[in-house]
Symmetry: C7
Subunit: 93 residues, 7 copies
């Protein structure tokens, strides 16, 4: 298992197909790769002025994040992304 440090978050990319109404549309084009992923692990938070501030996202949240802000890690035959929570933009509800 990957246990993120500080304010890092481990994500697993969604493998979604074209879906309609209340689903997510993803084109197969490389340049339009979706910025959706599911949170699989969160760090313990960040110390701000000597106080631990826990993260906002939780495991299983679907999130939108900034492209090019992730580090790709292969683990147990799966590919994960590690990202700082500040580069997570929104939760998909």
């Amino acid at each position: 298992m990957l246990k993120p440090l500080h304010d890092n978050v481990v994500l697993k990319k969604e493998k979604v197909e074209q879906v309609t109404k209340s689903g997510i549309i993803v084109t197969g084009d490389v340049q339009e790769e979706p910025d959706y992923a599911t949170v699989v692990a969160v760090g313990e938070g960040k110390y701000v002025d000597g106080k631990l501030v826990p993260l906002t996202v939780k495991v299983n949240d679907k999130v939108v994040y900034k492209k090019y802000s992730t580090t790709t890690v292969k683990f147990d035959e799966e590919e994960y992304l590690v990202i700082s929570e500040k580069d997570i933009l929104a939760i998909v509800e």
Copy 2:
């Protein structure tokens, strides 16, 4: 639905045509793409010195924003932009 984190804002681009007097003129040229969009969701704000400062823009505000400061997200057959409020320049009234 996209629920923005922190000081992020979700925008939906206006599909406006050429309009006159008290409307908005938009040329169809790609290089002059309008910087107008409508706020569809706002984050809960940003902690400054341990105090949550809510955002200034509200849902349904028409806003002008900095180009190249957005992340494009497709959701439910629609395209949205996510942007930090600091890159929103003005409200169109």
Copy 3:
């Protein structure tokens, strides 16, 4: 109307011709485009240490600003510039 957020200012470019003595000389050359504009709207200011600091420039001020620090916005058949007040260099009196 464009209502600037925070410390942003909305400017309207002067369309000045060659003028002499106590006027402003502007060459028609694109590379020497004037850095003069008139303030048409100002933001409510910026919070510094929890206190709102209002802007220094006022509506109708003619100002000199840093090139390449503006976002161009078309509104109501007119073109405006939005700029942070920190990039306004001087007032023309």
Copy 4:
């Protein structure tokens, strides 16, 4: 022995082969070089507001780190990486 200063950490790269289920899969491709390494020494920490904050990672932790954030050092016929702890993203458990 390499004794890291401040918040630096000395890592030794894993020489792992393709492993399955609860192991780590590493392709032999240079561009997909694994970002796994084992902590072999940690600095004494970083002074924040005059207080020494010890590091989070410990010797023998397997860690994932940001590529291109390391300095390679040869010592005693072995190759080590030195990295600031802020560029260590997660612990592999």
Copy 5:
């Protein structure tokens, strides 16, 4: 007149010829353009920790400044430079 904002300073470039002993030598070469100018107007200063700190340079000071840190403004048939005082390096006495 140009009234600089904040910590900005308006300069007028010296048109000096080759002068000897206690004068200033300027080669006519474009790449060796002099970094001398005369202060013609100064901003009211900068707020540091809520206190207005006035500028150090005064009108009529001859100053040396960092190249490429100025904005050129034409006004009343003359060319001026606007610069932040932090980019003024020395006063010529």
Copy 6:
């Protein structure tokens, strides 16, 4: 003698040959130039919040440092490196 200012440190590069077991292996290849050097002088430290914080490294320490963070100085027929202590990564013991 070179007396470093503030948090700077003067280093002298090791001219080590290939050594085995508990020595240091250095290839003669330019691209693999060793990042080892011996401290020959240290600055008096850095003022943090008005208090002088002395440096951690001492004269005669063998250190590993970030490449490209040094300034080379020739003095008394010898070549030295000057570096800020923050770019020294580890002490070789």
Copy 7:
């Protein structure tokens, strides 16, 4: 005379030839231009937390400085360098 502002320092480059034992060796090669210079004037210091901190270097100190951190100024038939004290690395004693 050049009177440096704030934490700036005026330097005059040494025109040293090849010297041996307790002298300074300088090759004539442009790429190995010496980083030695003599301090000819110092600024009054820098305000840190509202307190004026005077500079460490004094007139007549021989100093080593970071290349590419200087502004060259011609004055009275001589060439000087202006540099911020933070880019002066060491005093040659």
